[in-house]
């Protein structure tokens, strides 16, 4: 499985994502700079966490307009599995690949801690190695993770099984405790928690590993 990690100015979880991908899939990902409009064909695209463009204007807003994103959007629409974590999730909503928006946390503070997530969908290519209803522990670290969409959108997401994860206990004010959502095709996932930070016992646990093995297995 060949992957690409997209690097924006201010990305800071790009190395973590690359380490996780290499460790679990066995292949070193390509590190793609945001100005590269013509990157190699890959099986998996990751938009990492961080503060791309300093979170200035609005988290993810400027990155969504970076030259590389035209190609990312095209490939995602063609069905290439595309995964955004934290700032990556914010970028995906800004591009319109995923519905909704991430607002400032309800508590108005940055929050970094392990949180319990409930797996809501175990059919997607990102989540097949989990079991629906399973509780997993994955850390969050964000200031703007308060997921918002209108009721109609939320109903549709729930109806179509596109809520991938919910917070067992809401930490940021997200509508319906939503921590991660899928696109209609199921090949784009955005989530605020960081599975790439939970891949070794010494880091606090391994509940993030199955995210990557799911993708690996789904891609055969």
């Amino acid at each position: 499985m060949k992957s690409a990690v997209i690097n924006f100015p201010g990305s800071n979880c790009n190395r973590d994502m690359a380490v996780a991908l290499e460790k679990i899939t066995g292949t070193k990902p390509d590190m793609v700079w945001h100005l590269d409009t013509d990157f190699a064909k890959v099986d998996f695209i990751a938009l990492p966490g961080g503060f791309s463009f300093g979170d200035y204007l609005r988290c993810g807003a400027m990155s969504a307009l970076s030259p590389v994103m035209k190609e990312v959007i095209k490939r995602a629409k063609d069905g290439v599995p595309t995964f955004g974590v934290c700032n990556g999730f914010q970028i995906l909503t800004e591009t319109g690949l995923l519905p909704g928006a991430l607002m400032r946390n309800a508590g108005l503070k940055f929050v970094c801690k392990d949180v319990e997530l409930i797996v809501e969908n175990d059919d997607s290519l990102f989540t097949t190695d989990y079991k629906k209803g399973q509780s997993i522990t994955i850390p969050v670290a964000h200031h703007d993770g308060n997921y918002f969409a209108d009721d109609e959108t939320l109903d549709r997401l729930e109806g179509e099984g596109r809520v991938a994860f919910r917070y067992a206990s809401n930490i940021n004010g997200s509508q319906r405790d939503i921590a991660g959502v899928l696109n209609a095709k199921g090949n784009v996932l955005g989530m605020m928690p960081h599975p790439e930070r939970m891949i070794e016992p010494c880091l606090g646990g391994i509940d993030g590993v199955k995210m990557f093995t799911s993708v690996l297995n789904s891609l055969g």
């Binding site: 190395r15 996780a20 503060f51 300093g54 940055f110 801690k113 670290a141 930070r197 010494c202 880091l203």
Partner: protein
């Protein structure tokens, strides 16, 4: 315009210089300085840049060990951590700006210390801090704490360096002068470390990073004076940080450092372009000619002196090999950063400044550095206090409530409210998170760990500066030992009041004396540091606060110890001797509202012996649970272990002094460990042979803390609730 300004005595005073110092400038230059030159001398000769009151005493500190690659004098200290790698670290204060403007003051404090570390070629891998605020009841405390924490998080989170440790104290002496000390640890290849000494006549002097604006002008001078009621009017001297640019600067510098085009590099910190240029030229024994028209400017019509004194953030100065400037330029342009050749190296030994085609300043470099005044200020030592026996200190009225008040009060309560606002996991190597004895970061790509901590007990430093100095160093050494790492070296941030007062200078000299003794006894040299004097408001100094930042190494992170109890039925062993010392203790301060008696004596030989003994068991994989004893004594440490492990303990404590002395006494060189009973018995036997005091005091398990068959019976839930709730309630203005 500045050329025509006549220097007046008022102007000299406003620049923070006295008239004798001015005469010294005239002597050094052989003429009267112009306004630009006066500004430059004033910052270079400020306390902050010249260390004029402290230098004489700093020279006496122990700074050497076989593993020290670079001691004090560069941007940060460098130690060898094996396998061709080096740890580079330093701690620095940003006290005055943080009091005036807490968010930006703290944020730029983090930015500045990060630059000191990556300037030397290291990728920053961890941030820590040491914070002191006024008493919780002071009307500004909540505002300042909130702003400082948000500023530290706002900057550190954005640059993507984990904030893995720190300490927070509250005391009335900081009511009008908080202390914000930030520390960064970086990782570099030992054979690719960058220094600031400029070389090569004719080589280009290159400016990179953000543009220069009018912010922070005379910040170094502000940091070298006492606060008065109108200090808040100095808000414009506080710089504004941009962590996004800093992140770009880190990546661009590290990318450039992987090539071989840099001759010398220096960040622009306090006193900005002035101090970076002067330091580079001075260390290299060369001159600099700068054309200020070439400096990237954020604002129009900036005067030369404004550019030279601006403390705009996220800027660096470099000397690049001739003909290879384009390599650097390409990298900085990729990262959208300004790049400008602003001058060249000369053989004149002067700092020559040009603007609009005219020379606006011309000063001998050595006079700016070597001719700076050095004061051997008069000092008087703090009178020695008598030792008070525990039996002469009142016992608590309600023992259980006192335990809850202490672990659930401002001094010992959980700092979760603070550290959860910091990303302590980014970079994917944090193997011991905040809340333990020391933060531990895995050395990327290996199984080694770097342990780090910050500590000092200002209460002790005030009660007995020599003992307090010893204790500050010893406690960081103990913190690092308690996670199973070998302590290697320290950085420090020496926060004191006005050195012109002999009793303050006495605190300074004596704290340094104590620190030196501990460093020598523990083989734990000082490799970098910072001095912050004049921490006073309207004539009242802060408690002497020599904050120590310690770094240690462990060979195998799988052997690391943590504080939480892990396995019911394990025996709890107390290592070290318990006398029940309550003088200058937290119990005395918080519960009795008193501050009397000598601080606990620090027996450095016992410290070393006990620490080496405990570390041996952790390194061998025998002991996985360990916590050092400090503020609040045995009962505070036990509570931490219970809360962290969600497991109770039953202990029996006896001794020659009253129970409250045994529980709350702050005798030094002590640790609690938990191991299976057979091993515990062997440890006690081994300890006897090694001359270490060790006693089995109980077992862990169950869901309550039970001391001496019911003298204290508190559920784990109750302990946790007390411990966790104080700070969130306080910050929500609910207490």
């Amino acid at each position: 315009m500045s050329d025509n300004i006549k220097i007046t005595p008022d102007m000299i005073t406003e620049h923070g210089l006295n008239l004798q110092e001015y005469d010294r400038i005239v002597g050094a230059m052989g003429r009267e300085p112009n306004y630009t030159e006066l500004g430059i001398y004033s910052v270079m000769w400020s306390e902050h840049c010249s260390y004029k009151s402290s230098r004489f005493h700093l020279k006496k500190l122990p700074t050497k060990a076989p593993w020290v690659i670079c001691g004090p004098g560069e941007n940060a200290g460098v130690i060898d951590i094996g396998d061709g790698q080096a740890a580079i670290f330093k701690m620095e204060s940003h006290n005055h700006p943080s009091y005036i403007e807490p968010y930006q003051g703290a944020a730029t404090g983090v930015g500045g210390i990060l630059r000191d570390v990556f300037t030397m070629g290291a990728r920053p891998i961890a941030n820590l801090n040491a914070l002191r605020f006024g008493e919780p009841s002071h009307p500004k405390t909540r505002h300042l704490l909130s702003g400082v924490v948000e500023g530290i998080g706002g900057y550190g989170n954005c640059v993507g360096v984990p904030t893995i440790g720190g300490e927070t104290n509250f005391d009335a002496s900081y009511n009008g002068n908080i202390l914000v000390n930030a520390m960064t640890v970086g990782l570099a290849d030992a054979n690719n470390i960058f220094y600031c000494a400029a070389a090569g006549i004719g080589n280009s002097v290159v400016y990179v990073g953000s543009k220069t604006g009018r912010d922070g002008i005379h910040g170094a001078t502000m940091a070298s004076a006492e606060f008065t009621d109108d200090s808040e009017e100095k808000r414009p001297t506080v710089q504004v940080g941009d962590p996004f640019t800093e992140k770009l600067l880190i990546e661009a510098c590290l990318e450039l450092m992987a090539t071989d085009v840099i001759v010398a590099i220096q960040d622009m910190g306090a006193a900005g372009l002035t101090s970076s240029a002067v330091e580079m030229a001075s260390k290299g024994g060369v001159g600099f000619e700068l054309d200020l028209d070439m400096v990237p400017q954020r604002e129009a019509n900036m005067q030369g002196w404004e550019m030279m004194l601006s403390e705009s953030q996220e800027r660096m100065l470099m000397v690049i090999q001739p003909g290879r400037e384009h390599i650097a330029q390409t990298i900085f342009e990729k990262w959208d950063l300004d790049f400008a050749i602003i001058g060249h190296i000369t053989d004149t030994g002067h700092l020559t400044l040009k603007q609009h085609g005219k020379i606006i300043g011309d000063m001998p470099i050595n006079s700016l550095v070597d001719d700076a005044p050095e004061y051997e200020r008069p000092y008087v030592s703090t009178p020695l206090r008598d030792t008070i026996e525990a039996s002469d200190i009142a016992a608590p009225v309600d023992l259980e409530q006192t335990v809850l008040d202490m672990i659930g009060g401002p001094h010992l309560c959980s700092r979760r409210w603070i550290y959860e606002q910091y990303d302590y996991m980014v970079m994917g190597d944090t193997v011991q998170r905040p809340g333990g004895d020391a933060g531990v970061v895995r050395v990327h790509g290996t199984n080694k760990g770097l342990a780090m901590t910050t500590d000092v007990t200002p209460r002790y430093c005030f009660a007995g500066p020599i003992e307090g100095g010893r204790q500050a160093v010893a406690e960081t050494w103990r913190n690092i030992t308690a996670v199973g790492a070998k302590p290697l070296a320290i950085t420090n941030c020496l926060n004191f009041g006005n050195p012109e007062r002999p009793e303050i200078m006495g605190q300074f000299v004596d704290c340094l004396q104590g620190m030196s003794e501990a460093c020598i006894a523990l083989d734990y040299p000082i490799v970098s540091g910072n001095v912050s004097l004049y921490n006073e408001t309207n004539g009242t100094g802060v408690h002497p606060t020599p904050a120590i930042g310690g770094v240690g190494i462990m060979a195998d992170i799988d052997k690391m110890a943590t504080i939480g109890f892990k396995k019911a039925g394990e025996s709890i062993v107390l290592i070290g001797e318990t006398i029940g010392h309550l003088g200058a203790s937290l119990y005395q301060k918080q519960i009795l509202g008193e501050d009397a008696g000598a601080p606990p004596p620090v027996d450095l030989l016992a410290e070393r012996k006990n620490g080496d003994f405990v570390r041996g068991y952790i390194e061998s994989g025998t002991v996985k649970t360990c916590h050092d004893l400090s503020d609040g004594g045995l009962i505070a440490a036990l509570s931490d272990m219970i809360i962290s492990g969600s497991m109770g303990a039953t202990v029996d404590i006896e001794g020659a002094c009253p129970l409250h002395g045994l529980l709350f006494g702050e005798d030094q060189a002590r640790y609690l460990i938990a191991v299976d009973t057979a091993t515990a018995e062997k440890i006690v036997t081994d300890a006897e042979a090694a001359g270490v005091e060790a006693n089995i005091i109980g077992i862990c398990g169950g869901d309550e803390l039970n001391v001496n068959e019911g003298a204290i019976e508190l559920s784990v839930a109750k302990l946790r609730d007390a411990h966790e709730s104080w700070m969130p309630n306080f910050m929500a203005a609910a207490v």
